[in-house]
Symmetry: C2
Subunit: 126 residues, 2 copies
Amino acid sequence: MKLDFGKLGGLVPAVIQDQATGRVLMLGFMNEEAFRKTVETGLATFYSRSRNKLWTKGETSGHRLVVKEISTDCDQDSLVLRVEPLGPGVCHEGYQSCFYRTLKDGEWVVVENRTYDPGLAYGGQK
Amino acid sequence: MKLDFGKLGGLVPAVIQDQATGRVLMLGFMNEEAFRKTVETGLATFYSRSRNKLWTKGETSGHRLVVKEISTDCDQDSLVLRVEPLGPGVCHEGYQSCFYRTLKDGEWVVVENRTYDPGLAYGGQK
């Protein structure tokens, strides 16, 4: 299970993809401990760069990511996790995916509607 | 088109996804110049951390990535590019996707066959 955590100061990027639809839902970072915890628990767990701690996605909102498959790339320095997302959306802004904006004529445009009220799910927390 | 390049020392991760199949083909990093060049040319261009320079994917192999759509996430610090890949594979190891290994019982296992001979496509170069 050796991964190359050295290129990004102890982290690897982890792409979270909806197993059912193929949609990319979010991108997080894992350190070695977050990766181990993800494998052991089957729930996507990340290292928060802003809060300097591990967080299991959904620990506040309940919108957990159940891991179905983990792949790594040729350099073993990034991951793709195919997941079953629990709940209506992954993004703390209330969208199904964090990637809810698309570039159109040089501007980022919101291309979809919210799927839930983030104020209710997070109660002011992210 | 403002992105947050500050969190990773001038880089943002860019997930490359096949527009037709939804498969994640690779993950690269872009600095601001690589992102601008990607938008201007319509061909995915990255910043190589090992070679410290821009590289347009396919400049050696011909396996270019024609960009169809670019999305960013809630924090504007990562990208998803939906592309049409030219050629039989994206990975310099000869596979369709760089994510050709999956975790099975604690080991990374190659789960698919090569789609081309990387020795012929790259002539010893990556």
